[in-house]
């Protein structure tokens, strides 16, 4: 039986990264979908950048910011004695950044698809802004958000470049499934490579099929 540790680590990293990305993406998506402000297009472009940037370049930026001598990394180390470099938490950070744009774009489209008339109706019926968001906006955007979340999870599972730059490839500690496949092929261990590739492929296909179903149902429901 091949060692499936990288797979469990991948699932843990992807789950944490998606959860974090969800919070940020929903916040920024709601802001950019509902408010018109100076620099909105620029903000959107910056938040979408990880989608088009080479993962290694992205990893380099993360090192510049979060490395032990980085802008935030130095502060983190000085105050809490913590460094994200070469840890699974660092891998979470990398996976979160690469998967964020997928969630952000889906969430923004989902929020823009919710008619503001429903929100206005809710306000007149007695809701404050927080209640409008949780009772109207969020439920009506739920399918789009879920679809974006699944895409982001799939992307987080498959990240290689950025994770390698930030967390390295330490067996049993930061080695994700994508890295384990690379190592297995390099070492000629095709049993492990085939097993991991098969599991990852099936997982990705299932996620994409479910995402498409959600998106289609969302269109039909409108």
């Amino acid at each position: 039986m091949p060692d499936l540790t990288p797979l469990w680590l991948t699932l843990r990293i992807a789950a944490c990264a998606t959860l974090l990305a969800f919070g940020f993406a929903v916040g920024f998506a709601w802001l950019t979908a509902r408010f018109s402000f100076w620099g909105r297009d620029f903000l959107d472009a910056v938040l979408t950048l990880p989608l088009v940037m080479p993962p290694t370049v992205l990893g380099y930026y993360l090192i510049v910011v979060w490395g032990r001598n980085g802008w935030l990394g130095a502060w983190l180390h000085a105050h809490f004695g913590v460094s994200l470099m070469f840890t699974w938490q660092g891998a979470v950070l990398a996976a979160m950044v690469v998967s964020f744009p997928l969630l952000f774009k889906s969430a923004r489209a989902a929020f823009e698809g919710v008619s503001t008339e429903y929100e206005q109706a809710a306000r007149i019926l007695g809701d404050n802004e927080l209640r409008v968001f949780f009772r109207i906006t969020l439920p009506l955007a739920a399918r789009g958000l879920l679809a974006g979340t699944m895409l982001a999870f799939a992307r987080a599972m498959g990240d290689f470049g950025a994770t390698l730059m930030v967390a390295g490839n330490i067996e049993g500690k930061t080695q994700t499934a994508a890295m384990a496949v690379f190592d297995a092929v390099q070492a000629g261990d095709y049993t492990l490579a085939n097993t991991l590739v098969a599991i990852m492929s099936v997982a990705c296909v299932v996620i994409l099929v479910m995402t498409n179903k959600l998106a289609n149902r969302g269109r039909a429901g409108r």
Partner: protein, 263 residues
Amino acid sequence: MRLEVDIRKTLQSGDRRFALDAAFSSQDDLTVVFGASGSGKSLTIQAIAGLVTPEQGRIAVGGEVLFDADQGVNLPARKRGVGYLFQDYALFPHLTVRDNIGYPLKKAWPFSLLPDDQQEVTEIMESFEISHLGASYPAELSGGQKQRVALARAMIKKPSILLLDEPFSALDSMLRHRMRMELLEIRQRFGVPLVVITHDPADVEVFGDTLVVFANGRVEEVSSRKKLAVPEDEDGWRTKVCWRAQWKKENLAAQRLVPASGI
């Protein structure tokens, strides 16, 4: 019920600019705000409801000041106590008819109805003859059913005034007449003043105790049934107002401000 509106607001989109300068008052329980599309009538009732904030002016309903720029008063929409019927009803698509109607009563997490509120929803559904639709979703309803549900939802909190934005435009002509009568009946039953926005002269005939005519962001004319020379002459008044509304519409159509087909 006295409605006082005196507001100014400017909208800018690219190089297009629209200036609203609306001032009128109505003592009647049936007020029609009449005008072509883009004349500022919808913006005005949105300001009354608290959905848009004027730059200057004052809005008061029944003596209660909802907005006063000079005094710094601007009640949020949720505290204005007005009912609002949107043009396409704005029924929440993810909630059943029953949940839509009970929506304003559910105030605390997990937003479930208390037994008293359940009873209230049941009673209002019965009075609007939509009890059988409780488990349906808005997408499954006809135009007339949607309107009844939206009215029931707007009325359940007993608003001080009910604002209706072109309430019959989505209905066919047969249903339109029936719903006009139902709306009058609702007004009687709940004793709530109505402000109806329309560009249909037929609505003026039915609801226009006070007629406010909008054009190009300004109130062009305010007519009251009570102030006419022969108030007892119901038919004469209606003919006059209807004729006037029709004339306005044709006049505006001639200026290509509204489609003539809509007359």
